[in-house]
């Protein structure tokens, strides 16, 4: 085996690929060849490191120097300085929360940065470390060892027992105990059974499943094989979003490699256990993240949910017993089998064991993927790991659980996050999207945004969701347009209650949550919209106007020239004015005014 003195890990996740990491790899190949280093330095394309805001990211070992926001032009310098002469390129080092003064300090920038120091990586253990397109690298990190252990040392019932004891709960949203789910399916009479994986990560702003697929696809394959062994199945399906082309490609490669190595197929590990895995592409329907809808879609139909019971563990895909777990849930399974249930239960809170991956985004400095033990407070995630809010703005709320979840206000920043605490706060874990909003966000507008999403994504099968959410949206639209009427808030509450009680599937039952939770914590904002016809955050356009401060205006006329609808008039030495009837509130004038004389009047 060829030995290299240095390894350059380049992130090949979707975020970094979008900012040219493929071209950076190509440039490294050129530069290494030019300096005759191709036999000394190895370039490894890995999965996501998690710090997407600073991408593209490169880590050079053995020093562990983490370079961020690397451009193709920087590759030459990294090659000539660092790889050839051993001098770390300080200007490219990760700087957030860490001031690299000398090379020693710089060399440990990765482990020491606040962003990584406070995390605990279980599901993401291999992401950003191994090359996901090389099965050998996964095997070198104990890959397929858990499957080997399960097949040769454990009975199916033992596997289920370990899972039950570990307390692992579904990471896709509901938080149902995984071991229990497997047990139901295992107890069904023998015959055809299916193992499915929900990789239809539809929550806007959530991308943890994608990162596992892109960075560590074999862990999913291994876990699904273990699940199949536990319940007595020989066929699995992974339902992936078609919007994730890189993830699909890597999973495909991983499946082929596993087949080649005999880790999928017949007589795995020399036992009589057979297991095959197929990928099914989603086609852009959020409702297909609901388990029964997903199975209907795999069967080739419109992805509409079915009433439960019968539960999928009894009658699922093609009416056979089926288990469905989310990607992150599966990613935990091999570790639990190897390290044991006790190890896993030592992490987390009383009822929520292990870690949780959050996709942190929105108005936050360190956008990216964060894996922390259950019970970590929101404050730690937002401020310590996330680096706080850009431009020194105030934290207003964090939205978790996507269109099924709710907003957590600043007063609850110190609540430990787990399944149950989030539900108490009127939100939910969901798949782990965590969108931070600063003081400039209007909570009524956010509620409207999520409801627009639900209305568009409602499959239309049951009337409470199809018609009810539409009526709620109409009320919200009225409120945000300044046409709110007395009684509108009560109307929203009644509709919400009825939809929650009567919708067919989880999507419908949770659709009113964004409205209910914003009503709970930000009722004053709703009141301001309805009663005073004002949007305190200045987001809802129809209630806000742009005004020129006559004292500050120097009559330069720049605003009038920029205005796309000629709504601004004036002349030299006379302050300009905006004709409010013509103004379309695009905000160009405010942006362009060199004297900051134009402001939003809310």
């Amino acid at each position: 085996m060829q030995l290299y003195r240095s390894h350059v890990l380049v992130c090949g996740g979707t975020g970094c690929t979008s900012s040219n990491s493929e071209k950076i790899i190509a440039e490294f190949d050129v530069q290494l060849a030019r300096n005759n280093l191709q036999n000394e330095v190895k370039i490894v394309k890995t999965g996501c490191f998690g710090l997407c805001a600073e991408g593209p990211i490169i880590v050079v070992y053995p020093e562990g120097a983490m370079y961020t926001m690397v451009k193709v032009e920087d590759v030459k310098e990294i090659t000539e300085e660092h790889l050839l002469k051993g001098r770390i390129v300080k200007r490219l080092l990760l700087s957030s929360g860490h001031d690299a003064k000398d090379a020693d300090e710089a060399s440990s920038s990765l482990e020491n940065s606040e962003f990584f120091k406070r995390q605990m990586r279980v599901a993401l253990r291999n992401c950003g470390i191994i090359n996901p397109e090389q099965i050998d690298e996964y095997i070198a990190y104990d890959g397929y060892k858990a499957l080997g252990k399960a097949l040769t040392e454990l009975k199916p019932a033992d596997v289920i027992e370990i899972l039950k004891k570990s307390g692992l709960r579904g990471r896709g949203g509901g938080g149902f105990p995984t071991g229990l789910k497997w047990d139901f399916a295992a107890k069904q009479p023998e015959g055809k059974k299916y193992v499915c994986c929900n990789a239809d990560e539809g929550d806007p702003g959530a991308f943890m499943d994608r990162s596992v697929l892109e960075g560590d696809p074999h862990s999913l394959i291994e876990a699904m094989a273990i699940a199949a062994y536990a319940i007595g199945s020989d066929q699995g399906y992974v339902y992936v979003r078609a919007e994730y082309p890189i993830a699909v490609k890597r999973l495909q490669i991983a499946i082929e490699q596993a087949k080649e190595y005999g880790l999928l197929g017949k007589n795995i590990f020399g036992t009589d256990f057979n297991f095959d895995l197929e990928i099914r592409l989603g086609a852009g329907a959020f409702v297909c993240g609901e388990e029964t809808a997903l199975m209907t879609s795999v069967e080739g139909h419109r992805g509409e949910p079915r009433p439960r019971p019968p539960f999928p563990a009894v009658k699922g895909l093609w009416d056979k017993p089926t288990i469905l777990n989310n990607v992150e849930t599966y990613a935990n399974v091999p570790v639990i089998i190897l390290k044991g249930a006790e190890w896993f239960t030592s992490i987390g809170t009383e009822k929520s064991k292990g870690t949780k991956v959050f996709a942190v985004g929105g108005n936050i400095n360190n956008t990216g993927l964060v894996e922390v033990p259950m019970g970590t407070t929101l404050r730690e995630v937002v401020y310590d790991i996330g680096g706080g809010i850009p431009k020194g703005k105030k934290f207003k709320a964090a939205q978790t659980g996507g269109p099924s979840g709710g907003c957590i206000p600043a007063s609850h920043l110190d609540t430990p996050i787990d399944y149950d605490s989030l539900i108490q706060l009127g939100s939910m874990m969901g798949s782990g999207g965590l969108i931070v909003m600063d003081e400039d966000s209007c909570m009524v507008d956010i509620a409207k945004f999520f409801l627009e999403f639900t209305v568009e994504e409602s499959c239309g099968k049951c009337p409470p969701c199809r018609i009810g959410t539409k009526r709620m949206l109409e009320v919200l639209e009225r409120i945000t347009e300044g046409k709110g009427e007395e009684g509108d808030i009560e109307k929203l509450e009644i509709l919400a209650k009825n939809i929650k009680a009567s919708a067919l599937c989880g999507l419908g039952q949770t659709a009113p949550n964004p409205v209910l939770s914003t009503l709970r914590y930000f009722k004053d904002e709703y009141m301001a919209h309805v009663v005073d016809k004002k949007c305190p955050a200045g987001v809802c356009k129809s209630m806000m106007k742009y005004v020129i401060d006559a004292d500050a205006c120097k009559s330069c006329g720049i605003c009038a020239k920029q205005c796309p609808v000629s709504a601004i008039s004036g002349e030299k030495k006379v302050p300009y004015v905006i004709d409010q009837d013509k103004c379309i509130k695009c905000g160009v004038c405010m942006e362009k005014c060199p004297f900051k004389a134009i402001f939003k009047n809310v």
């Binding site: 900012s19 805001a53 991408g55 539809g202 592409l281 080739g300 985004g361 956008t367 796309p564």
Partner: protein, 164 residues
């Protein structure tokens, strides 16, 4: 749809051959319809009714059901897309970072509404679901190119780049 838009009746269209191969590949797979539609759309760029009819005959699935599936999923399109398909991400992370303004700017500059294609067939505009590049929010994609960390003023330059 007018007759001259039809792509697979009469004449030997090489794409029809490909469609046959796709159908053949999936004929014995359970739940084959959606994979077939995915690949057919890749070949034709969209799923005109003629293509759906062919699939219906070959897979022995009623055309009504196929039409139901095609219209249910947003990935499938009954209309041709522009040469450059502009998708503005409307995921939450992009939304709170102002993707709505980016979309408005595209609408204004192209004179298109969401879902429309320009008359010369150059651009089509879409609001898409989260593509997961939240670190770059707000994000748009044009075919396979990704543009991130945008402000409304970037829009004009981006369009210009593709017009040339």
């Amino acid at each position: 749809m007018s007759a001259n838009n039809c792509c697979c009746c009469g004449g030997a269209d090489p794409r029809d051959q490909k469609l046959q191969e796709i159908i053949k590949k999936y004929k014995d797979t359970r739940g084959a319809l959606i994979p077939v539609l995915h690949e057919a759309q890749e070949v034709y760029g969209y799923l005109p009714i003629e293509v759906q009819k062919k699939i219906s005959e070959e897979l022995n699935v009623p055309l009504s059901e196929i039409y139901g599936v095609v219209t249910f999923y947003t990935q499938f399109s009954l209309n041709p897309k522009g040469k450059y398909k502009i998708s503005v991400c409307m995921g939450t992370a992009c939304y709170v970072k102002g993707s709505g303004q980016i979309l408005d700017k595209f609408k204004e500059k192209l004179g298109l509404e969401v879902g429309e294609c320009s008359e010369d067939g150059m651009f089509s505009l879409e609001a898409c679901r989260c593509i997961g590049a939240c670190g770059l929010a707000p994000v748009i994609t044009i075919n396979d190119d990704v543009y991130g960390r945008l402000v409304p003023d970037d829009v004009e330059g981006i369009i210009k780049k593709y017009k040339e």
